[in-house]
């Protein structure tokens, strides 16, 4: 076996990896707090959204060395030993070290277990039922808007959501047609609106302001416009506002006259039959 000495060494690559990792982490520490101000991350207006930012931060922190490891060693190989011409020699076979592979396996298992336990801690928050004085809001997704009602306040209905700052809110979400997904980025919550089922999610808004509500599940024609806003206000403002609202119009109760469910015609005939009839 012709033992041609090759340039490059594992230590040099390791040094590059260390530098890249440190630079990456410093960049993250410097830029991370600015991201919300630059609108790269949505505004944080609830405990839940704060949790999510922490998770994203930690995951990014841990992935910097992992990403750098793979890229630096692969890139170092390519740049150091790469050639446009066909090499006339062969690379030296590398024996599978009896130590290195187990180390790699153990490190990846430890990383995964750490991330999992960390995730479980936050999952606990997600699953926890809200405590204390809770504001209940029923959310109905329908093509293509969000309809809100307040069961604690005489079922007042509205198309814009009002929440009280620092008061936990529990959403009971359903849909009357197809699947939608109720998403308030600033509160860090997302829950599908599933026809025929009621799903729940809760959060405690902690910042007064107006934030967007979006639909995150393709729900047909105007999915892109299935958006509204949430106003997070003080308790006093909320009381004033809710007293000025009228009880929800009884549109959802089939008991009202002429609101019997519409029998949909034979499916094959739906297409164009109305238009063609000159209607």
């Amino acid at each position: 076996m012709s033992e041609t000495p090759q340039r490059g060494s594992v230590w040099r690559a390791t040094a590059i990896w260390a530098v890249c990792t440190v630079v990456g982490i410093v960049l993250l520490l410097v830029l991370g707090p600015q991201l919300a101000a630059w609108h790269v991350l949505p505004a944080v207006a609830s405990d839940r959204a704060g949790d999510i930012d922490q998770v994203l931060f930690l995951f990014t922190l841990l992935s910097i060395p992992v990403f750098a490891l793979v890229i630096v060693f692969a890139g170092y190989s390519a740049f150091t030993w790469g050639s446009r011409l066909r090499p006339n020699a062969h690379g030296r076979p590398m024996a599978v070290s009896s130590r290195f592979q187990p180390i790699w396996v153990i490190i990846s298992i430890v990383l995964v277990i750490f991330l999992y336990v960390y995730g479980l801690a936050f999952l606990n928050n997600v699953n926890a039922a809200p405590k204390g004085d809770v504001l209940h809001v029923n959310v109905t997704g329908e093509q293509w808007l969000w309809d809100f009602s307040y069961p604690d306040s005489n079922n007042v209905g509205t198309s814009q959501l009002e929440l009280v700052v620092n008061k936990p809110v529990e959403f009971s979400i359903t849909s009357i047609d197809v699947q939608h997904s109720f998403w308030i980025p600033a509160l860090g919550i997302k829950q599908d609106a599933v026809p025929g089922e009621t799903t729940h999610i809760s959060a405690t808004p902690n910042t007064i302001g107006t934030f967007p509500i979006r639909c995150a599940e393709l729900c047909g024609l105007y999915h892109a416009y299935m958006e509204t806003v949430v106003h997070v206000v003080s308790q006093d403002d909320f009381n004033t506002w809710i007293q000025n609202q009228e009880p929800s119009a009884p549109v959802m109760t089939p008991a009202a006259s002429s609101l019997t469910p519409i029998k949909v015609p034979d499916m094959a005939m739906i297409s164009d039959s109305r238009r063609a009839a000159g209607v």
Partner: protein
Amino acid sequence: MRRYLGAFLSIVIVAAIGVSVVLLLGAAAKPLPNLNGADQGTSDTPQGTLKHVSLTLQTFPMDPYEDPDWIASNVTGKSDNGIAFPSAIGDNPDWVKYWPTTNLVVPAHALVTVTIENYDSATPLLNPYYAVPRGISGQLTVDGQAMAEEDPGAVSHTFTIHGIPSADQPYLFVSVPVLGVNSCDPTIPPDQQQGCIPVDDAGMPAHPAVTTFSFITGAPGHYIWQCFDPCGSGFNGFGGPMSTKGYMSGTLTVE
């Protein structure tokens, strides 16, 4: 050298295919004229004295230019919206449409009174939510008569404004049902028909159902409005005109 030319040409060909498909699929998305709110002075509202403007729109089940009689009696000289009637409409004359345009422009912090003259008959609403007027100021009137809500089966279209939530503009939500014309069925002899509005040979009713309502605008912003009644084509009635600007979908600019 030839291979680089070929590579360049392949990019050009792909770009040409892309452009032509975009043009083909977006054929109806040609620029539409703006309809500006007509000045009506000022008006007292719950939010104080505001500027008052009006908009008048028509809805047609088909291209009215298919009906020369109707044009002679109705269109001639009718341009009180500030823009003249177009001489012909779109690529799809049989599509249901708002007329004369769907790009609406109104001032900020103003009372906007909208009059919709509907020549189309009813298409039952699938979702009765839209049978109730929402987000309007004052009352909805149909042919001068105030309505709290309409029968979902008698509704022909809706006029629904959506806000696009962003930090730059206030949210605006207005949804109004537009009552259909109870037009006569031409296949039934006239003496057996009661209380319906006669239609001419082309199917255009003699007079429209007129829906009027007002809403109040906030700070400047850009909004989308659509009809949410499945009056279009397709499996569920939401095809074709329903999402096409210039037909049953449009923009509202508050400036």
